[in-house]
Amino acid sequence: MDFFAHHILSVVLFTPLVGALILLFVPREQDSVPRLVGNVFGVLGFLVSLPLVHWWHSDWGGFTFEENADWIPSIGARYHLGIDGISLLLVMLTTFLGMIAIFSSWSAIKLRQKEYYILLLLLQVGMIGVFVSLDFFLFYVFWEVMLVPMYFLIGVWGSDRRLYAAIKFFLYTLAGSVVMLLAILALYFYAPAAADGSRTFDVPTLLAAVKDFPDSLRVWLFWGFFFAFAIKVPMFPFHTWLPDAHTEAPTAGSVILAGVLLKMGTYGFIRFSLPLLPTDTVLRARIIHIVIVLSLIGIIYGALVCLMQKDMKRLIAYSSVSHLGFCTLGIFALNPNGLSGSVLQQINHGISTGALFLIVGVLYERRHTRLISEFGGLATPMPNFAAIYLIISLSSLGMPLLNGFIGEFTILQGAFQVSKAWAAWGSLGVVLGAAYLLWLYQRVMFGPVTNPINEKLPDLNAREYATLIPLVILAFWIGIYPKPFFAFIEKPLERIVHQVNPGFYGAEHAKLPPLEMQPAVVETK
């Protein structure tokens, strides 16, 4: 137990790997064993991550559950793990969605099951690794490791244009990460060496060292990281890998791609890019403006392109571009509202879009097509499916009392404090979000059944309920009582804002007595 408590992050990180290793020894002829093992380890992976929540204390602002051991001493790379509230939420999202994605493959995958589950589990390792690494070298390893299973998942189990999509995905991401590697090396070499001349890849140390960097260097480092993260998010105009990858990937792959993978980019922005922002206000404002404008373009552009899609998955993929635009908008508002909205919206997007892909998966398994025009009137043969699909659509378009609203409102609130125009443009995305999601819903679900094949489509089965209901419950939970979720990220974000936007709190201290003793004008809890 003690070992478990002290190495909880390693346990969470490597549980899926154990599963993958066990699967290696399962003979190929055993058809049902791989998926059983895969599911057991999917559930196990989620279960072992639960203590993180249980042990968490909302006062914690810094990294906890740290593990720090020598790895490659000659270059100073260490096995350093640790999480704060932000990464905690993302790790939980990963293990949770991972479990659901694995379960959703139960009957969808019939080909090479063993390899499939091995790769899914490896993917989990890579993604969790990205969120828990506190060593740049380790981080980069996980960042790249995660590419390989995804490449194969798309390339082997994808649909018609799978090879094109897989290669595009791989090259796109790789191009970004190469630049990031350079930036990491620059950080490594420009940071002052220790007294004995040794250097380090340690994240907290290097990011602390950035404080003394000249602005010109910080700008270069910022853009270096920016490309890797912007491609991953993906921000306009680096987004074109996404529709292909999302569309071609198998359902579980799309769920993971949209639900977790994209968040590696936003996570990177919060964790690594923000501290690199230059101190010079003009320079800084220019950079922020570029990123914000790209985010706003992404929000509106993604939504508009959704309107013309003929393929359900492609539509949802473009909606991700729009939703992730909100996330980056919130991040670069650089205030607690924007950032907490952004982190929460990342979780929300994982839930809503993950569920939307599951929904398309339900239809795909029945009809083997994703074309909107093939459907219509499905509410008649599949009423329960219609209900769940409606709830998920509403959660995605930001209906209050569901999760999406909390994130979008808080992001807009953060953006509004910086620039009213940003929020106004962002709110246009909310209008369009309703348009494309409801139009899609209408075309698929309403009206008479136009295609006779659809008349006898079976409603959801028990397994599909089991994958969708937890997401629906979470969507309501966050929408109705988001306080516990905000509690996780409040302190870490306060630290980040203190670090990257000291003016936010500084202005306060200069003008007013401390928060507790404000005049009556001010609302207190």
Binding site: V305, P336, F446
Partner: protein, 707 residues
């Protein structure tokens, strides 16, 4: 004395009852028998009404300045500190909290009361429809959202209800989802409302960063000294003399919120969804698109009256938009032939009246008209539903007529409602409409003129509807004719109750000029006090009794003129409407085509947005992906080809060239390599001779030296 009581402490139960049954219906409704569905769903709304009435009576027990009850259940949205415009940080909190004051009293009673009657009616109306449980599930969900909207103690929770009612409206308009027009109408309603909602959201945000709070007021909260509300902040700003600084911002807030109100309450230019919304079942039109939801915008503006009173420019906008909408919609109602469409345009027009009232500062009159309108318009819609029911689904008034004796209860109640909406003394509409017109007259003559003419139009189109439907010869098809029957008691009893309310409902606002004391306005007074008492929004109008009576006589004669004209056109037929239409064909066409607004919106906005989507999609595939990504791919392949060529011809070429050269030079030498001993021996000999010959004289010197 502050209000207390059991019902007040269980205020949260009022929206909870319908939510519970809605959840039950939507999850397991299919397995509940029809009688159970009716009992649960109607019963829960009835319970809400009882609780609401109890809570209101407990509130009324307190003296008028203390009639505020506020209850915070939990902190809902807590995203951390927010930076106000001046740079101050405040912890932003949106409560899940309920507020009962005279204003929400009126609303909660109207919503639960009229809602209950419409639910009862629906039991009869929907009895033979499929998806019975689904209908009632949505209706109860609507009740929950609407009650959250009116009871919310802050703007964001109000927005929750606001969006919730919008969702239910979407679901219920599209209830017959097999019909494309129905699901189109639902979608249109939702999206048009979303445009308004964007304004609402921005208004909320601007309020938050300007005032630091989105709670309406802090009265009635335990820590009311420290916890502040919008009203208290404005008051503090006034006391400290900083009000002038934020006045422009308040105007912007008021306008943004009004955009939201335009969407929900179907005002120009966002009214286009409401006529289409008539695709929904008729009880839905009565409940959502006449009595309750569409008045949410009016309620919201009144709720925010403290802000509006400080933003006179915004008030003017509200008044003008209201007045223009009133007459514009009334003019379209004149030529409609669908019984429900007439009522829909009439609703838009009446909502315009309400905004006209708010815009001229007559908040109480606006709410008064909201209430009376809820009675008579719900009655009109339910009556129309009863007519449609008896006519086997026919909605075209050209195919009706002569129903007066055949469905007497419906006909009489319909007549009462028509008299009420036409503003005939002493029906409910008379009092509220005259209150509005009187205040508009005081504010600005032109606004009164518009309202005055609208009153005439209203009387005209309503009596046109009445005459065409209930009088004259029956124009119905034969098989329809045979089935005409009065509706069951479940439908007619609510009609009778609403008819009673349409008569007496206005009496609580009996004006001073006619010897009353306008109790309604007194009751609302504390809510509408405003920050600066001089703005006089609540000051009871003190204009001369004579003038007031004169105005009343004027508008009554206007209504009379409208009725007379309708009589001449459609009852006595002394004037043929066709001739009038032929005389001004352009005007007629314009009205029939509803000023082509839908077509213009489609051409200018909807289709352009779709085009933009297509354009961007093409751009995405061909420019970003094509030029950018494939370009990069092409560049990579091209440079790989160049490298290949370089490798093959230059690097490899040089190497091969060297090799060839060596080969060339080695050729003559290779000729020597014969492998024959004799030729080697010969070569050795020849070599020896050459060597000796060449070095001959050296040899000699060498030998000489040795010697």
């Amino acid at each position: 004395m502050t209000p207390t009581g059991t019902f007040l402490s269980f205020l949260w139960l009022i929206p909870l009852f319908p939510l519970a049954t809605a959840a039950l219906m939507l999850f397991v409704g299919k397995r509940v028998p029809k009688a159970g569905v009716s009992l649960l769903c109607v019963g829960s709304v009835g319970l809400s009404f009882v609780c609401a009435a109890g809570a209101v009576s407990e509130l009324l027990a307190a003296d008028s300045e203390h009639r505020v009850f506020q209850q915070v259940l939990f902190e809902w949205l807590t995203p951390g500190p927010m930076q106000m415009t001046g740079g101050h940080l405040v912890p932003f909190v949106a409560d899940w909290g309920f507020l009962l004051d005279p204003l929400s009293c009126v609303m909660v009673l109207v919503v639960t009361g009229v809602g209950f009657l419409i639910h009862v009616y629906s039991v009869g109306y929907m009895a033979h429809e499929g998806g019975y449980y689904r209908f009632f599930g949505y209706m109860n969900l609507f009740m929950f959202a609407m009650l959250t909207l009116v009871l919310a103690n802050n703007m964001l929770l109000m927005f929750v209800g606001w969006e919730g009612v919008g969702l239910c409206s979407y679901l219920l308009i599209g209830f017959y989802f097999l019909k494309k027009s129905a699901s189109d109408a639902g979608k249109k309603a939702f999206i048009v409302n979303r445009i308004g909602d964007a304004g609402f959201i921005l208004g909320i945000l601007l309020t938050a960063v300007t005032l630091g709070t989105i709670r309406f007021m802090s009265n009635g909260l335990p820590e009311s000294e420290s916890a502040s509300g919008i009203f208290q902040v404005l008051k503090a700003a006034k006391d400290s003399g900083t009000l002038g600084v934020i006045t422009p911002t308040l105007t912007v807030i008021a306008l943004l919120l009004f955009i939201g109100a335009m969407g929900k309450s179907a005002q120009i230019p966002l009214y286009v969804w409401l006529p289409d919304a008539m695709e929904g079942p008729t009880p839905v039109s009565a409940l959502i698109h006449a009595a309750t939801m569409v008045t949410a915008g009016v309620y919201m503006v009144v709720r925010m009256n403290a802000v509006y009173q400080l933003a006179p420019a915004a008030m003017d906008v509200v008044a003008v938009v209201g007045a223009v909408t009133a007459i514009f919609a009334a003019s379209m109602a004149v030529v409609q032939n669908d019984i429900k469409k007439v009522l829909a345009y009439s609703t838009i027009s009446q909502l315009g009246y309400m905004f006209l009232a708010l815009g001229v500062g007559a908040f109480a009159a606006g709410i008064f008209h909201l209430m009376t309108h809820a009675f008579f318009k719900a009655l009109l819609f339910l009556g129309a539903g009863s007519v449609i029911h008896s006519m086997s689904g026919e909605q075209d008034i050209r195919k009706m007529g002569g129903l007066w004796g055949k469905i007497p209860r419906t006909a009489v109640t319909f007549l009462i409602a028509t008299l009420a909406i036409a503003g005939i003394f002493p029906f409910a509409g008379f009092f509220s409409k005259d209150e509005i017109l009187g205040r508009a007259f005081d504010r600005f003559f032109l606004l009164w003129i518009v309202g005055f003419f609208t009153a005439g139009l209203t009387a005209f189109y309503m009596f046109r509807l009445l005459f065409l439907t209930f009088f004259g010869y029956s124009r119905a098809d034969e098989h329809v004719e045979k089935h005409i029957h009065e509706s069951p008691p479940a439908m007619t009893v609510p009609l009778i109750i609403l008819a009673a309310l349409s008569i007496i409902g206005g009496w609580i606002g009996w004006p001073g000029a006619l010897g009353g004391e306008n109790r309604f306005e007194r009751f609302l007074e504390p809510v509408l006090a405003g920050v600066i008492s001089e703005t006089g929004a609540v000051r009871i109008a003190h204009h001369a009794v004579g003038k007031e009576i004169f105005l009343m006589v004027l508008s009554l004669s206007m209504a009379g003129a409208g009725i007379w004209l309708a009589y001449e056109f459609y009852r006595s037929k002394r004037i043929a409407p066709q001739l009038v239409a032929e005389k001004w064909p352009k005007v007629y066409e314009l009205l029939v085509h509803k000023y082509y607004v839908d077509e213009i919106y489609d051409a200018l906005i909807v289709n352009r947005v779709k085009d933009l989507g297509v354009l961007l999609g093409v751009l995405d595939a061909n420019v970003i992906d094509g030029l950018g990504v494939n370009g990069a791919g092409w560049l990579a392949r091209f440079s790989s080809k160049v490298s290949m060529w370089w490798d093959k011809w230059v690097i490899d070429g040089l190497l091969n060239f060297g090799a060839k050269l060596t080969q060339l030079f080695s050729y003559p030498v290779r000729l020597l390599q014969t492998g024959l001993f004799s030729s080697y021996a010969l070569l050795i000999l020849v070599g020896l001779v050459v060597l000796l010959g060449y070095y001959g004289h050296h040899m000699q010197t060498l030998l000489r030296a040795v010697r």
